[in-house]
Structure formats: structure tokens, C-alpha cells
Point group: C3
Chain length 142, copies 3
């Protein structure tokens, strides 16, 4: 019973963590997004890319990536579903999540692409969740 | 521990509340939808609109809004993701949620638009959730 | 309080159950998918279809269904939102869920169709969730 409770407790925490994390990213609050990673966290937004490392490194990578949207009044939204957690031997959690990127421009309709899978390793302690590593794979590239 | 438990408990309650609330709306059960608001609840489906007030006022607004679908065999589905809750000083919760409207007609493919953000104030007590106010912003209008 | 706790606990369990179940389906792990049904479980993927019965019957149905994708490098993702649970007299749960099928091919953009509603009866005991029956209705066919 204690075991079950702990598990479902953690599941809600992870869902809520992702909600705040991804609203930070889509709101261009890159410092807040980077703070959801561990100090030595890594963020790899596609399999071919070099992973960004550490919180300052993640902020730098996001600033660089978003230069493509300079002068482009775009609103992006990262949708998540089906967060599947699997315990790892070291006490962390493997988290595999479906993601769709929704892109909207003023007066336009949302473009919904690409379809991705987020592969995270999460650290959970005392009700706090942090991302230790993130690799994003893209369905159209398989 | 009690604090964490309460929080994750509330998070699940809010998710489940939204599931029933939005299935009521999409099922055109407007009385059921209005009953998910507080007695003095307000519902503003876009920033420029005058908010509907009280449960009877919300029902009236929904009946009025749906007249555009008279004779149109449409099925709408409101999708939600990333429910982010923030406690407010008065004990209520600010809830910020991504929403996509899926629209289907017989024989057709779903149109997925617009992309919105739902800004709610929620009251939670004894496991019951009610919406005190709702403002919906639209991404294509920013 | 115990009642509320049990309910929210079950809600998280059901969400997590669906995450693993649908990732098994989309990963073409049909044995794993069938194992998420009760021994005598039924799976009806559209109202006109004959339901598949028992785990071996469900595997057989999925193998048959997926022959249409032979030689087609397709990745499908079943998205879920708004899981609404209602207790049934026998202790099982009626679960009504919105579903969208996302289909991606290499180099392409995701096609997002059809929009469906999943009607499940779930059995939950000791933290384990199983699907007793599943009927999927399609919005474009109403």
C-alpha cells in the first residue's frame, strides 16, 4: 500500500513538473526551463545534435536555437501525452513521453509537427522532480 | 509529506475534474458544464467577449454560442494538456492549461484549431473542484 | 478522506496504465498490449467490427489489422486526453477517453486522424489495472 501510494504520488508530481517545465519553455523563460534540470543535466533536442550540458549551457543552447524565430511572431506549444515511467537501478526514473509541437502565428491556424518522443531520466526526491538528461527523437526521421 | 500528498492529491482531482467538465461541454450537456462553476462563476471564452456570469448565465451563453452549429452535424472535442497549478493567497488555485479544439464532421477529417490557453481560478474543498473564473486566450490572436 | 485518497490514487494508476498500454500498442508489442486486458477481455476497434476476445484473440486481431502496413514504414501514436472515470455497480470502472491517432512516415508531417472516443471497462485491484472491455467509436462516423 505504501509502495502503491508512493508510486502514484510520484506520477502526479512528474505530470505537474512537465506542465510547469514546458510552459516555461514555450513562454521563453529559458532560465526557468534550465532550472528544471539537475546542475549537470544534459539536453539533446535531436539524436544528431551535441547535447547541451549544465544549466548555463542549456540556456545558451536555447537562446541560440531561438534565433531562427527573430522577428517571427511565433507561439510554440509542446504537447505531451502518455508519460510512461520505469524505475532505474540507481533510484532515478526513465520517462518516455509522446510530444507534438504546435506552432501558431498571428491570424493563422496551428501547424502540428513534428511528432517526437521525449526520453528523460528524472531524479525525484522530497517531492521535487529534476531532469538529469533529455533526448528527443523525431518520428519523421526514423 | 502531508503537504506533498495533499498537492498531488489535488493535482489528480483537478485533472479528473477537467475530464468530466470538458466531456460535458462537448456532449452539449450545458447544465452539467455550468454546474462545474461556482454559483457566481464567470466564463469568458475570448478576451474581447463579455464574461458570462452565474450558472444560468453560462448556460444561456452556451446555448447562444452553439446556434452557429444549428443543422451542422459537428462534433467538437476540447483537448487539454500541461495543467499548471499555482496556489493563490486566498487558498484558491490559478490553473493555466493548453487547449486545442478538435472539430469533426461526418465523413471528414478532424480540423485542429484554434490553439488556446485556459486561465482558470479553481476552488478545491473536500475533494470537490469548482471553477470560479475562466478566461480563454487564443494563440492566433496574439 | 480515505475515499478521496483511494479515488485520486486510482486516477493516477489509470493514467499511467494507459501510458504503458498505448506505448506497447504503438511499439507493435502486441503481446504486451494484450496482457493489459483481463484473460477474457474484449477489444472492439470500431462499432461495426466483431470484438476480439481473450489475449490470444487480441494478438491475432492486431497482427491481422497491421498487415495493411506491411512494407509501409509508418509510426502510429495514439494520443489520449480527458480520462473520465465512473464507478460501476460491480466495482469496475467505466472509462471514457478522447483519442487521436497520429500517423507519421519518414520525411513526412504527422497526419492527425481519426478522432475517436475509447469506452473501456477497467478492473482495478491492488494497484493493478486491467481492461475488461474496449469499444472505440469514431467521430467522423456519427
Amino acid at each position: 500500500m505504501t509502495e502503491t501510494l508512493a508510486t502514484t504520488d510520484v506520477y502526479s508530481q512528474v505530470q505537474h513538473f512537465y506542465a510547469h517545465q514546458m510552459q516555461a519553455l514555450d513562454g521563453l523563460r529559458f532560465e526557468d526551463y534550465a532550472a528544471t534540470f539537475t546542475e549537470d543535466g544534459t539536453f539533446q533536442h535531436s539524436p544528431g545534435a551535441e547535447p547541451a550540458r549544465t544549466r548555463p549551457g542549456i540556456v545558451k543552447e536555447l537562446v541560440e536555437f531561438h534565433k531562427r524565430f527573430d522577428g517571427d511572431p511565433v507561439q510554440r506549444r509542446h504537447w505531451f501525452t502518455h508519460i510512461a515511467l520505469t524505475p532505474r537501478a540507481d533510484g532515478s526514473l526513465a520517462s518516455t513521453v509522446y510530444a507534438l509541437v504546435v506552432t501558431v502565428r498571428p491570424g493563422g491556424k496551428p501547424e502540428i509537427a513534428p511528432s517526437c518522443v521525449v526520453h528523460d531520466v528524472l531524479e525525484v526526491s522530497d517531492g521535487q522532480v529534476l531532469t538529469r538528461s533529455r533526448l528527443v527523437t523525431h518520428d519523421q526521421m526514423f
